[in-house]
């Protein structure tokens, strides 16, 4: 009896590992191919390069159409960091008000906030574009960053509200008795305690902004302002096979920041997804 369960376990592990291997194969193949010479990419389906070359990275890094890839990375970093700071700040402020303060029209405001979570962004897309166009923000990073400072990703407000509601109110009350106003309570008590929610907000904002393609495609047209997704896309326009290597090299490079964030904050990912159903 015991032997069969033992066997069952091994079989299960083998199945799970096999599925994982097949799933990750494309990514690993891309990683391997980024170190292969051009002719080997097409002839070799195994991950490991027979001959290691770094030309792909050098060639990819010098960029395409005269723009260094470093430039794209820098632009993406500016946009992502700007978005993260804005989101964390504006969403935590609004969340504190919803979770702890009493004010008029709170129910209505909360309802509106929930509604905007479900709203497809397409319905605001064109008027937003027109507004940003009117104030001369096309081809700048502002349309990508400023909305985050205005709490338009309401999902994170909701997430943080739920978290703050779980914190004991006695803390606020004790601080009030000690003469703390709401602003100091927010800054000294709520923010430090709500750190897990803030980190979840930060990592998902970072990933979504880093991978965002639609808004960057719409708002950035000058290659100088291109972010990583737009820069990568330039590789697609050239269909010559000799560009596959540099394309894979820069694709791999573009995934590295996501991976680092993931490794550093793994715990928050699983918690964030499991408790709130955030999409990864």
């Amino acid at each position: 009896m015991e032997q069969t369960t033992e066997k069952m376990h091994i079989v299960k592990h083998v199945i799970v590992i096999a599925i994982a291997f097949v799933m990750l194969y494309p990514v690993l193949w891309m990683l391997g191919s980024s170190f292969k010479p051009a002719n080997e990419i097409f002839s070799e389906i195994w991950i490991w390069p027979k001959q290691w070359v770094f030309d792909n990275y050098i060639q990819g890094w010098t960029g395409i159409q005269g723009n260094s890839f470093a430039h794209f990375l820098g632009n993406s970093l500016i946009v992502s960091v700007g978005a993260v700071v804005g989101n964390v700040l504006s969403c935590s402020m609004a969340a504190y008000a919803f979770a702890r303060l009493n004010f008029r029209f709170k129910t209505i405001a909360f309802g509106l906030m929930l509604m905007t979570i479900m709203l497809p962004h397409h319905v605001t897309l064109i008027p937003q574009y027109i507004i940003f166009n009117k104030i001369g923000w096309i081809n700048t990073f502002f349309p990508l960053i400023v909305p985050k400072w205005l709490g338009t990703d309401a999902f994170f407000i909701f997430l943080t509200v739920q978290f703050i509601r779980g914190l004991p109110r006695e803390l606020d009350e004790a601080a009030t008795i000690d003469g703390c106003g709401p602003i100091r309570i927010f800054w000294k008590i709520i923010l430090p305690l709500a750190l897990p929610a803030l980190i979840t907000t930060a990592i998902f904002t970072f990933l979504w902004t880093w991978d965002d393609f639609f808004s960057q495609l719409i708002y950035l047209s000058d290659p100088i302002k291109y972010t990583v997704p737009l820069g990568l896309r330039l590789f697609l326009d050239s269909s010559s096979q000799s560009d596959w290597g540099p394309m894979f090299a820069m694709s791999t490079l573009s995934l590295v920041p996501c991976f680092i964030v993931f490794i550093l904050c793994q715990k928050y990912f699983v918690q964030g997804i499991a408790t709130s159903g955030i999409k990864g």
């Binding site: 009493n102 004010f103 905007t116 990864g280």
Partner: protein, 315 residues
């Protein structure tokens, strides 16, 4: 692209009104809500009203909007063949990719759940596609993998099969995108795993004593107990899938081709608005999308009564 949310447990908003308490904190609340409120008015509510207005006009940014009544909506459903194609493509994509993804996510979650050693590592590994899948990098890899001389065909060649160029073939191109979506089952799987943990093990023990088979247990205990989570995943995936854009854009290099076989709704909307500058028409399309998503969500909510089982009787 951030419409992917909602929570497993929307508790009734706290909004408990205490009659005795006065709204003494109006000023402070306004301070904390100010950024969000400005965003709500200027970037959400205002634009919503504006796009509703634009949807009844002929508007090309260069000239002022020109009221045309319901013409845009009429054109969509009567004479715009591409619109109808984009609807068909999107429906097909949603109806194939969402069930496949959830079935796969559930199957792997159940496999991992049964006291598996190394669960943490497997969960991490299975999540990686979800982590990376939304990026342009992976979409480009996909395009190359399923191309004529791509990885898949090289492997097929080894076993003697001469396969077509998948992404250049109108019959298969959409399915390469479906596969890319199913590949990212990791985040749904994590939600299923969290749900499976909540099922009391006594249920399985008791039913085992009564002689229930594994199969029977799965359909009589696991599925009903997990149905709220399945419901949640289903709603979220459908809402997200309707808005899918990046993958179709990159895999077809912005064309929606071959022969419009990957012309997803969002992609067509983008083309109308930002390639042809028919902003009025694109706004009308946006509102039709909202209605479609609302309709689907409503249908699922309606159906929920018959298959979603709540332990507390749905209170």
């Amino acid at each position: 692209m951030n419409a992917h949310y909602e929570t497993a447990a929307i508790r009734p908003a706290v909004a408990v009104k205490k009659k005795a308490r006065r709204y003494t904190q109006n000023g402070v609340a306004l301070f904390f809500l100010a950024p969000w409120l400005i965003g709500l008015i200027c970037l959400t509510l205002g634009p919503m009203i504006a796009s509703l207005y634009f949807s009844f006009t002929d508007y090309s940014v260069l000239s002022a909007p020109n009221w045309v009544g319901l013409t845009n909506y009429k054109t969509m459903f009567t004479s715009d063949k591409l619109f109808l194609i984009s609807l068909k493509v999107t429906f097909l994509y949603v109806l194939v990719s969402v069930p496949l993804k959830l079935i796969f996510a559930l199957a792997v979650a159940v496999l991992l759940n049964k006291g598996m050693k190394g669960l943490g590592i497997y969960r991490t590994v299975y999540y990686i596609p979800s982590l990376l899948g939304g990026s342009v990098a992976i979409a480009m890899l996909w395009r190359k993998m399923f191309g004529g001389d791509g990885l898949l065909n090289q492997i097929l060649h080894l076993v003697g099969i001469n396969a077509p160029d998948w992404v250049a073939n109108p019959k298969y191109a959409l399915y390469s995108i479906v596969l890319l979506s199913v590949w990212q089952f990791g985040s749904s799987m994590i939600i299923f795993l969290a749900g499976l943990k909540q099922i009391p093990s006594e249920y399985y023990e008791a039913s085992a004593v009564d002689g229930a088979s594994r199969m029977r247990q799965f359909f009589s205990i696991t599925i009903p107990m997990l149905s709220p989570v399945i419901f949640f995943n289903l709603v979220m995936q459908i809402i997200t899938s309707f808005q899918s854009f990046t993958q179709a854009f990159v895999i077809s290099n912005g064309t929606g081709g071959p022969v419009n076989s990957t012309l997803m709704y969002s992609l067509y909307l983008y083309k109308k608005g930002f390639a042809f500058f028919q902003m009025g028409y694109a706004s009308a399309m946006a509102w039709v999308l909202v209605l479609l998503i609302a309709l689907f969500t409503l249908l699922i909510f309606r159906s929920a009564k018959s298959w979603v089982h709540y332990e507390d009787g749905g209170k």
